[in-house]
């Protein structure tokens, strides 16, 4: 059991220069060593990436840049499917083929890469210089056709416009009109935005803009306008920048500049060009198809090269002298012996392992000056506890000498989560929702973890649901009554409830006190674990202070219990005495050891415990919602005198009833997880975890990391 993070050792490996690459490959494959940078000293200098990196890097650069374009052009979805379909076993065997200690495999891969290099460049040139250019041209021609079609289909007589003018064809929105203009019988009209003469549509003032002529389209729907200025094209350009012209744009459905040449002729030419482009593109795509077949192995090749790339780059963390390479890193202590044995077997006396440091619980982390000397935290939890490591995502990873909080989360979270959700029906629905989420998002680690937490914690919810007698917000007797006729047909007669639960809305005060008690016990457990950690670290003062807090919290809880009349007679006097004693001793220890800060923080016993009242409050709010759903949507098959109508109404009611309860379950799941998580992290774990641990990231193959 991982009560504490794994013990780690920092090792230094000396290897002759001749085997440096093979050794790095072995370390990569072993996936154990969390590499640390070796500081150059005396005859040691900083190592540089292995030489094969110079050959490999430009290839990878080319392939990585080309891959997205090739994937896009070669419909890589199919290639991806092919790749995804490859079993893990196949991948493992591929990796197994990478014989450690030999670079022949790299040579083969590099030759393959060089072979494909020309093809990749060829495909890229087809894609970039031809396909992409043609696609861009095609889009431009299509846009041109679209605009020209509008102009042609407007059915206006453009011939009567002087050839020297710059003009715009505008389709005005329904209801909008333009009244004008200086050429209109020479009569100058003052035009403003507002109602037209006939009181219909908007009128726009085009004072700056030149001449406006309204022409009616063939279809007679809407107004097509040609805006132009005779001669003086420069002024037209100026006029088009005026706000009035822009307003015309707002009123228009579309506005297209009239080409100088005949629109009809241009449209015909564009259509012809489009056909040509499509033909050229089809030919190129056919050619690309054959080339794409050669690119099938490119993603795998990149992956293989990336493995060698990371091995080459790992050398940057090493140091070297004239004859040796020096590698340093952390690894789990329990693996050291087999690691050394394997090294001996593979490299005989060419490698020497020296243990530099061992992580201990007494380690004073704050005094470690070199970050490379801080042991990384490696937690190896049993499978059912693993999902609860998600707690570290919400807070901080414990240091190597702090307790593994996930283990305690696994014990207490289902209890508190279950107490909040506290409904058998909701717990069953949450089980289904969590299983669905896990199946739906198999690649997301965090969703998988939280779903597992929900699945495990739903057991707690079911148990508390039985205690509270809550089955979708109602007593079990409600459902038994509904099934009474069915049950009596098999000889079971229901006369009353099977048991009397502790229904939360009816016994709210007791639930509140129970929440407080759970809180006091949870906090005390946190304080005791904190004392234990301090004891292991050798911080006696901290240990006594933590014990003081635990004692004061228990004492305070006992005194509250006495005040509420939980004990009577002799027991009351004994408990009261014990309560006062524990509280006074605890508070005294806090004040003595923590001074003024301790005095100020003493009331936090109340606030910390009160924080657990949320168990009752959030739980009851869920029950109230469930009761409202039950009141209005409880299915009944006897509506409208029964019969077919009654059955249909009953089925609809059941669907609504279950949907609403499912929504309420979702809210309850989220709230219970967030509130339960908050209590665990802030009220509980912070009592014994300082956090700030270094993540253990071993130098390992990507597939191994994925498996982790």
């Amino acid at each position: 059991m991982g009560l504490w993070p794994e013990k780690m050792v920092k090792v230094r490996i000396y290897a002759t220069r001749g085997i440096s690459i093979e050794l790095t490959q072995f370390l990569h494959k072993a996936g154990l060593l969390h590499l640390e940078e070796v500081k150059p000293k005396d005859a040691w200098e900083k190592a540089t990436p292995f030489k094969f990196f110079d050959e490999l890097s430009p290839l990878l650069l080319l392939f990585r840049n080309a891959l997205p374009k090739i994937k896009n052009a070669c419909h890589a979805r199919e290639a991806d499917k092919e790749r995804d379909g490859k079993s893990t076993k196949e991948e493992e065997s591929e990796e197994g083929q990478r014989e450690s200690g030999k670079l022949e495999k790299l040579r083969v891969i590099l030759e393959k890469a060089h072979g494909i290099e020309q093809d990749v460049e060829g495909v890229l040139s087809i894609i970039v210089s031809n396909v992409e250019q043609l696609e861009t041209e095609k889009a431009a021609v299509e846009k041109e056709i679209e605009e020209l079609s509008k102009v042609v289909n407007a059915g206006l007589d453009y011939k009567r416009l002087p050839s020297s003018v710059e003009a715009y064809v505008v389709k005005v929105k329904e209801g909008a009109r333009i009244v004008k203009d200086e050429n209109d019988g020479g009569k100058e009209e003052e035009m403003k935005e507002g109602k037209g003469k006939d009181g219909k549509g908007s009128v726009i003032h085009l004072k700056e803009a030149v001449a406006v002529e309204a022409l009616k389209g063939k279809e007679g729907k809407g107004a097509y306008l040609v805006v132009f200025r005779r001669g003086q094209e420069g002024q037209v350009a100026k006029a088009t920048q005026t706000s009035e012209f822009n307003k015309l744009g707002e009123l228009a459905e579309w506005m297209v500049k009239l080409p100088e040449e005949s629109p009809k002729g241009l449209l015909q030419e564009s259509n012809k060009r489009l056909e040509e482009i499509k033909g050229e593109l089809d030919k190129l795509k056919e050619k690309l198809k054959t080339e794409c077949k050669k690119m099938k192995d490119l993603p795998l090749l990149i992956e293989q090269l990336e493995i060698y790339e990371s091995e080459a780059l790992a050398a940057r963390q090493f140091a070297r002298s004239s004859y040796t390479y020096i590698i340093e890193g952390w690894m789990p202590k329990k693996m050291l012996k087999s690691f050394e044995a394997e090294l001996k077997k593979l490299f005989r006396n060419a490698v020497l392992v020296e243990v530099l440091k061992e992580s201990t619980l007494e380690e004073k982390y704050e005094k470690i000056k070199d970050p490379a000397d801080i042991p990384p935290t490696h937690i190896d939890d049993p499978k059912p506890v693993e999902p609860f490591e998600i707690g570290y995502m919400f807070s901080s990873l414990p240091r190597g000498n702090e307790l593994n909080a996930a283990l305690f989360y696994a014990l207490t979270f289902p209890f508190i989560y279950g107490m909040i959700i506290g409904d058998v029906g909701y717990s069953i629905i949450s089980l289904f929702i969590a299983s669905f989420l896990k199946k739906k998002f198999p690649k997301s680690k965090s969703i998988r973890q939280i779903s597992d937490v929900w699945i495990i914690a739903s057991i707690g919810g079911m148990l508390w649901g039985i205690i509270f007698d809550e089955w979708l917000g109602a007593s079990h007797f409600v459902f038994l009554k509904k099934l009474a006729s069915l049950l009596s047909s098999i000889g079971i007669h229901i006369t009353g409830p099977l048991y009397h639960g502790f229904h939360r809305t009816e016994t709210f005060t007791i639930l509140l006190l129970l929440s407080g008690l759970v809180g006091a016990l949870h906090i005390t457990l946190g304080q005791l674990l904190g004392a234990y950690t301090a004891f292991k670290e050798g911080h006696k003062k901290h240990m006594y202070a933590k014990l003081g807090w635990a004692s004061a919290t228990i004492g305070f809880t006992l005194l509250i219990a006495i005040y509420l009349g939980a004990f009577t007679g002799f027991a009351a006097s004994v408990v009261s005495g014990a309560g006062w004693l524990l509280f006074i001793v605890g508070a005294g220890a806090i004040v003595w050891l923590e001074g003024f800060v301790g005095v100020v923080e003493l009331p936090s016993i109340i606030s910390n415990t009160a924080s657990y009242f949320r168990i009752a409050a959030v739980g009851v709010s869920g029950v109230i919602l469930a009761e409202i759903i039950n009141r209005y949507t409880m299915p009944s098959f006897g509506a409208a005198g029964g019969g077919l109508v009654g059955v249909v109404v009953g089925l609809v009611m059941t669907a609504i009833y279950l949907s609403l309860h499912s929504v309420n379950t979702l809210i309850a799941m989220f709230e219970s997880a967030v509130q339960g998580g908050r209590l665990h992290i802030l009220e509980f774990a912070m009592k014994f975890i300082q956090g700030g641990g270094k993540v253990y990231k071993p130098f390992a193959l990507p597939l191994m990391l994925k498996k982790r």
């Binding site: 995502m393 924080s611 009242f613």
Partner: protein
């Protein structure tokens, strides 16, 4: 004391209407206070998450902290309604 100053009979404070008003005030004000504090925590958190998406976990917990106010308000409201 309050009844002396306001001239309202002390019996009024135990009427269902007064209790309901008290519960509404307890719940409403605490919810407003939670909303107010969560608004500032939330906006700062979103800023942090946009810069460092890996902090989303920590942020969720900090977002839940002001909820204690609403929880306590709810408790008082329930206790009032149940005339505890």
């Amino acid at each position: 004391m309050v009844s002396e100053i306001s001239g309202i009979s002390s019996a009024w404070f135990t009427t269902p209407g007064a209790i309901a008003m008290g519960a509404a005030v307890a719940m409403g004000l605490s919810a407003l206070a939670t909303a107010w504090s969560q608004a500032s925590v939330g906006s700062s958190s979103m800023g942090l998450v946009s810069e460092r998406p890996e902090m989303v976990g920590n942020v969720l917990i900090w977002m839940a902290i002001p909820e204690l106010l609403a929880v306590l308000g709810f408790l008082i409201a329930v206790l009032l309604v149940m005339k505890v």
